[in-house]
């Protein structure tokens, strides 16, 4: 790699600044002095995953900079919070080589592990987070089966099979046109517009990366002119003013990326608005036993071609949970008699049916039905298979079919939102449900999102900064049932959750080590390994040991004794070191056999008394000695547990 001279870099920065001030280029890291962003930066500094996740969900600009010119990524990288960095990168934080901020970020990385992580997310490899959505919509243009198109546009004998809902969402012109005549199935273009121009416009609407050069490839000058005029015209007609500007060739990579990013962002927002105003607004909540009476005509104002149903949870411990938990309450649609006539009727020809008898005393089970579009559902492999098969669901019926999705309405809404808009911001409360549903429906990205949310928010308030909680103090009000989480992780094969749970347990091992459920969990983990005939270690225990060493090592490093602990050395080695250090400090040597007493209560008493003791209740000299001791005791306990379970690890 050639190294640029200082004056060259300065010149480049100056041109960039000029481009930004003249509005040609958007600033990649705009100054942000809002309180929210300050809090975000603070969280990155401290390594508070939870706050970071919350702030990201709230939508702060992840690539902004504070008044000291620091970006969140630089802060996290400088302070060495690996998990936070990963979270930021996964949410689109930029770290590009050969840029000022990017190099700063790499230069500031606390250790090699972080540096490598940053490098692995270099822009060249990462893509726009909206790309999967865009790619899917683009693929709809050419996907022959299953058939999801509902309108044909013809220009000069060339036919384009399209989707009304995408056209309506992306082009105000189509939105108006289709609102007045939702049942249109064909549309002819005025003769002044060549098919190529229409093609370009449609590709643009379908999020394909179009460039003029590609569109004009192989055309003569005359044809070129005609097509260019056509593009201009159709852009005006369809009210996509930016079309022409956006497909003009630019050579600058960064500008190109920005423009693409902007376009995707805007397109997503359009879809999002449309999704809210049409799909979500037309969801219906009815009694479960009446759900089969719902009949939607195939010609409807929102062009839905399938109905998805989700039933409320059957038995709730708390009957009021659905009021508190449900995001915006379902739109209650007034009862109308079934009408099957097609065509536009007073605005929306949407009909739904509720039971003729008003609700009874005892509240019956309720179901929510969402209208949806197969084209978008295809993003899930489950639906793709379903609609490609020969089963009932794949057949064309006069009224729309209702497909039950095995989850709560809130979860279904989350899933739909994700499939339409790539947005996946949901609370911890439904995270596990989303995880399972996404697993069942084969929506891998959503699964990962759920796992991220669980692992980022699941630590609860106590663990805001894990390194500052070396003594495993816990909030009494635990946010997660960690056993559920790890089992969910196993069931849905999400490595991240297993890691998260192991870490979680490791940092609070004192609380779990003696619970019978923990022993059960270890046994389960061991069985899993055996079933897969892999190595004869117990994964969970290995992970816990690893995180345990991390937990205590951080303490030793803080004390300036990191020389004793080789950063990357295996656990065994560090154990030996630790023994040395323990002898060095001439501390009482405790044998693991003495750990059978119920120590938990004892420890509580000791803490209350303000005496520093180790977990076995022995008094020790200072906090550091206590840590060293406790580490040893916990390791010992794990061994005992394994012995008791007859496991080999």
């Amino acid at each position: 790699m050639d190294v640029k001279k200082k004056h060259e870099i300065e010149a480049a920065l100056a041109t960039e600044a000029q481009a930004i001030s003249s509005g040609q280029l958007k600033e990649e890291n705009p100054l942000d002095v809002s309180e929210d962003f300050r809090a975000f930066c603070e969280a990155c500094r401290r390594g508070d995953l939870k706050v970071c996740q919350e702030k990201i969900s709230e939508g702060v600009n992840i690539n902004a900079r504070d008044k000291f010119d620091y970006t969140p990524l630089i802060l996290a990288s400088l302070c060495g919070h690996y998990e936070v960095i990963r979270l930021l990168l996964e949410n689109g934080a930029l770290c590009e080589r050969d840029t000022f901020q990017g190099e700063r970020c790499l230069y500031n990385a606390l250790n090699d592990r972080i540096r490598n992580l940053l490098l692995s997310y270099d822009y060249a490899k990462s893509t726009n987070p909206l790309q999967p959505l865009a790619a899917h919509i683009t693929s709809l243009l050419t996907r022959p089966t299953p058939k999801t198109t509902d309108i044909t546009i013809t220009a000069y004998g060339q036919e384009f099979q399209l989707h009304k809902f995408i056209l309506a969402a992306r082009s105000p012109y189509f939105a108006k046109k289709l609102a007045t005549a939702p049942s249109t199935t064909t549309w002819k273009l005025p003769h002044s517009i060549p098919a190529e121009a229409l093609g370009v416009a449609l590709q643009y609407l379908y999020f394909q990366e179009v460039t003029i050069r590609r569109a004009l490839f192989g055309l003569s000058d005359e044809q070129e002119l005609v097509v260019l005029n056509g593009i201009d015209k159709i852009g005006k007609q369809l009210e996509i003013e930016r079309l022409f500007e956006d497909i003009t060739e630019v050579s600058d990579r960064r500008l190109l990326r920005q423009r693409r990013g902007d376009e995707l962002e805007r397109g997503r927002d359009q879809l999002d608005i449309w999704f809210r105003e049409n799909v979500l607004r037309h969801k219906m909540t009815v009694d479960t036993d009446k759900v089969d009476n719902i009949q939607w005509d195939r010609d409807n104002s929102i062009f839905a071609d399938i109905l998805l149903r989700a039933d409320d949870d059957e038995e709730h411990d708390n009957p009021d949970s659905d009021q508190t938990n449900r995001s915006p309450g379902p739109l209650e649609v007034s009862v109308l008699p079934v009408r099957n006539t097609a065509g536009a009727l007073l605005g929306l020809p949407v009909r739904n049916v509720r039971s003729r008898s008003p609700s009874r005393r005892r509240r019956p089970k309720r179901s929510t039905v969402y209208p949806a579009h197969r084209a978008m559902l295809l993003r899930s492999e489950y639906f793709l298979t379903m609609f490609s098969s020969q089963f009932k669901e794949a057949q064309d019926t006069k009224t729309l079919q209702i497909i039950t999705i095995d989850c709560s309405p809130a979860v279904l809404e989350t899933i739909l939102t994700f499939m339409y808009t790539e947005r996946a911001d949901f609370g911890l409360d439904i995270a596990i449900d989303v995880l399972f549903a996404a697993d069942q429906l084969f929506i891998e990205k959503l699964k990962q999102r759920a796992a991220i949310i669980i692992s980022a928010l699941g630590n609860g308030s106590t663990s805001a900064v894990e390194s500052s909680n070396p003594r495993g103090e816990t909030d009494k009000d635990e946010a997660v049932d960690i056993y559920e989480v790890i089992r969910a992780g196993w069931d849905t094969r999400v490595q991240r959750l297993e890691e998260f749970a192991a870490r979680y347990i490791a940092y609070r091992l004192e609380n779990y080590i003696d619970q019978p459920e923990f022993a059960e969990l270890v046994q389960e983990s061991a069985n899993r390994v055996k079933a897969r005939q892999e190595t004869d270690t117990v994964e969970l225990v290995d992970d816990i040991r690893y995180y345990l060493s991390e937990r205590f090592r951080l303490r030793f490093e803080d004390s300036g004794l990191d020389g004793m602990m080789d950063e990357d050395a295996a656990l065994k080695a560090s154990q030996a070191d630790l023994l040395d250090s323990m002898n060095h400090f001439a501390l009482a040597d405790e044998a693991p056999q003495e750990m059978k007493t119920d120590i938990q209560s004892a420890v509580d008493q000791q803490i209350a008394a303000g005496v520093i003791r180790n977990l076995d209740g022995e008094e020790v000299g200072d906090e550091f000695a206590q840590d060293a001791m406790n580490y040893q005791i916990l390791l010992g306990k794990i061994d005992t547990l394994l012995e008791r379970l007859n496991l080999d690890a």
């Binding site: 508190t324 084969f442 069931d491």
Partner: protein
């Protein structure tokens, strides 16, 4: 669980996905019922969502294995009961009997029965695939989660294996233990046989059955070689095809000619190729090709080539297409194309030898012609005539060879796709017959051919045409092994052309030489070029001498102009010029020139020795010519006019000497032959020939001979013919012996002898060069290297090399190494 105030809390999964058991049996019953519906094609009523959910739940409950086994069992049961029975129903007794080889049914019946069976099978297989893909859709979660984790093969693949086990490997019926698979093979093969016999069969149907065999594997490894198609069908197919084609080739060889056989074979190959593409699998293509090629070509090619209507017939009748077929077939089985190469080589050699023999016969025939006509012509004339005949024969030989070459070039180009191997072979064969030891005249003939063209042939031709002629000569020259012999002849002919100014164009001569230079190298043309150089130097000399004479101020109007060619004796083959042998040269008495001529001769000698001291000039009067202005006295002409006539006579130097004698002689006097000889001292034979041309040739009868006859006898008397008249002012008196002649046998022996002598030097030089470099060398190696070195010039005989080595040892250039195991020599410095 309540969501915590201000903080969300995680909720356990709803509906108790953990812990509580689901009712496996009931769920399975639902699923099984649905599967049954699917198999009976009632799937449209089923809800994918519901089935998927059931399967999903079961897998999530860690009952994946149970589910897998149940599905597996269900499929097995279904195939074994329902599908197998329906297949067995399709089997007609005829079909079964036929498969055992006891067929008495007509092909048509067989075809119908076979098609029915295959159709049923295809149907069953298709249904199975469709159903299983639906099942696999429903069981997607099981495939992805359970199968991936537990390394089970996906249910779809497992079900395909079941089809193999339960249907294909099942017995035909309860009493008949043969497997259905065998029957399938038999039926397909039977159908293919029908197609070969010209019937139309349902290719698509067979193809789908083949696809089925392709999709299934013999064992669990699923490797390419283990496909049922490869393991079971393909082998049978190849075996039956081999038998079929073996029989067919035998029949065809007896019944039809080679051309028909070739096109048939080619059609068969194409057919099998197409069959693999349309009916079977492409991967079989190369294998069946090999079978067909082996049976139809490889094992038969020899017979084919040797057939009465084989390669020889095709070559003779210019059957280019058929030759191409043979070539094509041969190439398929043999990259070296041995058979056709051999046949072609033999043919070339035969035809070439034929041309050789014709040439020999033609050159000898005329000798007998005058013998049969005793009244005609004296012996000498007969000999002359025969020499001319030989020239014609030589030219005919060259043209024939060229025609042959053209023919085979065309065959090579059109029929053999310009194959380089065959080109080599053809070249070798041409070389073989041209250099055949029974025909030693090729070098001479080629040189003669060039000579003829240089003198006459290229007159009035365009540059392009001339170039083709030259190119032809070069082409032939390439074949000639003894290049030195050719050089010798060429030099001789060139010499004659140059001195006698017979060349049509000097440009063309030079062109030819540059062509030879490219072809044979610098060495070869060195002397030829020197000859040209001599010619130019001579021109300069002549001009220089003229100037010198002018400078003397001796303005003699009667002065004789001298044009002279000074030839370097080493480069010019002078000895062969006058028909005299080298040894005679020295002893030959000098010709007495007339005074005026003698004077100028001396003048030139003086002039020359001033320029180049130490060089001796030898005058070759027999090769010169002179222009004489002769005045004939007034005499009555045929047209009645009465005037003095002047003629410019172009005669040979000897002719001039003779004529000048008559200048001093009174008109009525004569000189006898002996007198002339005594006065001029011209060698006998030259004198005879010159007198013949001056006194016998009707158009140039400047002297009158008595008695008048064609022969010149010593007693003949000659006198000046005053009444001579010619139509033109300029008259060329040709000397009888000029022209390009094939050598007489005596001459040839001499030439060969000379050639051998010069070869001896070449060989010795080569041997010494090699030994100087190697110091010590074994005999065999030395001979081989010597042959290699001389390859460009000629091919020496090994005995000659041996003799040369002996001679070198005698002269102590080399010595034998004593005690060496094999003969070895050492170089003595």
């Amino acid at each position: 669980m309540i969501a915590g105030r201000g903080r969300q809390r995680i909720r356990p999964p709803r509906r108790g996905l953990h812990g509580d058991e689901i009712d496996f049996e009931n769920t399975w019953a639902t699923i099984e019922a649905a599967f049954r519906e699917i198999h009976t094609k009632n799937a449209s009523k089923l809800s994918y969502e519901e089935l998927y959910r059931h399967a999903y739940r079961i897998v999530l409950k860690k009952k994946g294995e149970q589910l897998y086994n149940k599905v597996h069992g269900f499929e097995r049961g279904w195939l074994a009961s329902e599908v197998r029975a329906s297949i067995q129903q399709l089997l007609s007794p005829n079909l079964l009997a036929e498969a055992q080889g006891a067929g008495a049914t007509s092909p048509n019946e067989r075809r119908v029965a076979g098609e029915k069976f295959l159709k049923g099978l295809k149907q069953a297989w298709g249904d199975h695939q469709v159903c299983m893909s639906m099942l696999a859709d429903v069981l997607m979660y099981m495939d992805r989660v359970y199968c991936a984790d537990h390394r089970r093969i996906p249910i779809y693949n497992a079900a395909m294996v079941l089809f193999r086990d339960e249907i294909l490997n099942s017995p035909i019926s309860v009493i008949d233990a043969r497997a259905i698979l065998g029957l399938i093979n038999h039926v397909i093969l039977d159908q293919i046989q029908m197609e070969r016999d010209g019937d139309v069969i349902d290719k698509q149907l067979i193809k789908s059955c083949v696809w089925m065999l392709e999709g299934l594997h013999e064992d669990e490894t699923e490797s390419e070689e283990q496909r049922l198609y490869n393991v079971s069908f393909e082998k049978d197919y190849l075996d039956t095809s081999r038998l079929f084609y073996r029989g067919e080739s035998e029949r065809l060889l007896q019944d039809s000619d080679a051309g028909a056989y070739c096109s048939h074979a080619r059609r068969r190959i194409y057919e099998e190729d197409e069959r693999c593409k349309q009916t079977l699998l492409e991967s079989t293509g190369p294998k069946i090709q090999k079978v067909v090629e082996d049976e139809l070509i490889k094992n038969r090619i020899h017979e084919l080539v040797e057939m009465e209507s084989g390669v020889r017939f095709m070559v003779d009748n210019d059957r280019l297409d058929e030759l191409n077929l043979v070539y094509d077939l041969n190439m398929r089985v043999d990259a070296k194309k041995t058979e056709i190469t051999r046949a072609i080589q033999k043919r070339i050699f035969d035809m070439g030898t034929g041309i050789n023999n014709d040439a020999v016969a033609a050159s000898q025939a005329p000798v007998s012609v005058p013998a049969a006509d005793p009244a005609e012509k004296a012996k000498g004339v007969a000999q002359e005539k025969s020499l001319n005949q030989q020239t014609v024969a030589a030219i005919k030989w060259v043209e024939d060879v060229l025609a042959l070459k053209d023919k085979f070039d065309k065959i090579w180009r059109d029929s053999f796709d310009s194959d380089p191997l065959l080109q080599q072979a053809i070249t070798r064969s041409f070389g073989d017959f041209i250099n055949s030891p029974t025909f030693p005249r090729s070098s001479e003939y080629i040189s003669l051919f060039i000579d003829e063209n240089m003198k006459k042939g290229i007159k009035g031709k365009t540059e392009m045409e001339v170039d083709t002629v030259l190119e032809k000569a070069i082409v032939l020259l390439r074949y000639v092994q003894d290049k030195d012999l050719f050089e010798r002849y060429y030099k001789k002919h060139l010499c004659r052309r140059l001195l006698m100014n017979k060349s049509v164009s000097n440009e063309v001569e030079k062109q030819m030489i540059s062509k030879m230079k490219i072809e044979l190298g610098n060495n070869f043309t060195l002397k030829l070029e020197a000859m040209f150089k001599d010619m130019t130097i001579s021109e300069e000399l002549t001009a220089g001498f003229k100037k010198h004479v002018d400078g003397l101020g001796e303005k003699d109007p009667k002065r004789i102009e001298l044009a002279i060619n000074v030839l370097t004796s080493m480069t010019w083959p002078l000895e062969s010029m006058g028909g005299t042998v080298a040894e005679e040269e020295a002893s030959r008495p000098r010709c007495n020139f007339p005074l005026a001529v003698e004077k100028i001769k001396r003048g030139f000698e003086k002039f020359y020795s001033q320029k180049h001291s130490g060089r001796q000039l030898t005058w070759l009067a027999n090769m010169g010519s002179a222009d004489i202005r002769a005045v004939f006295p007034k005499a009555v002409q045929k047209d009645g006019s009465f005037k003095e006539r002047r003629h410019d006579l172009n005669v040979s130097t000897y002719g001039m000497v003779i004529l000048l004698l008559f200048n001093e002689l009174p008109t009525d006097k004569y000189l006898t032959f002996e007198e002339i000889q005594a006065q001029t001292n011209i060698p006998h034979s030259d004198l005879v020939r010159n007198l013949q041309s001056l006194a016998v040739a009707p158009k140039t009868r400047i002297l009158i001979k008595e008695p008048m006859s064609k022969d010149v006898k010593p007693t003949d008397r000659f006198s000046f013919n005053e009444s001579f008249s010619g139509k033109f002012v300029k008259i060329k008196v040709g000397v009888v012996s000029g022209g390009n002649k094939v050598e007489s046998d005596r001459e040839r022996r001499e030439t060969e002898k000379k050639n051998d002598d010069s070869r001896q030097f070449c060989i010795e030089a080569a041997v010494v060069r090699i030994m100087k470099q190697r110091k010590e060398l074994q005999h065999q190696q030395l001979v081989a290297e010597t042959l290699g070195q001389l390859n460009g010039q000629f091919k020496p005989e090994v005995t000659m090399i041996k003799k040369r080595i002996e001679s070198l040892i005698e002269r102590e250039y080399l010595e034998r190494i004593d005690g060496a195991k094999v003969d070895s020599y050492r170089y003595l410095a």
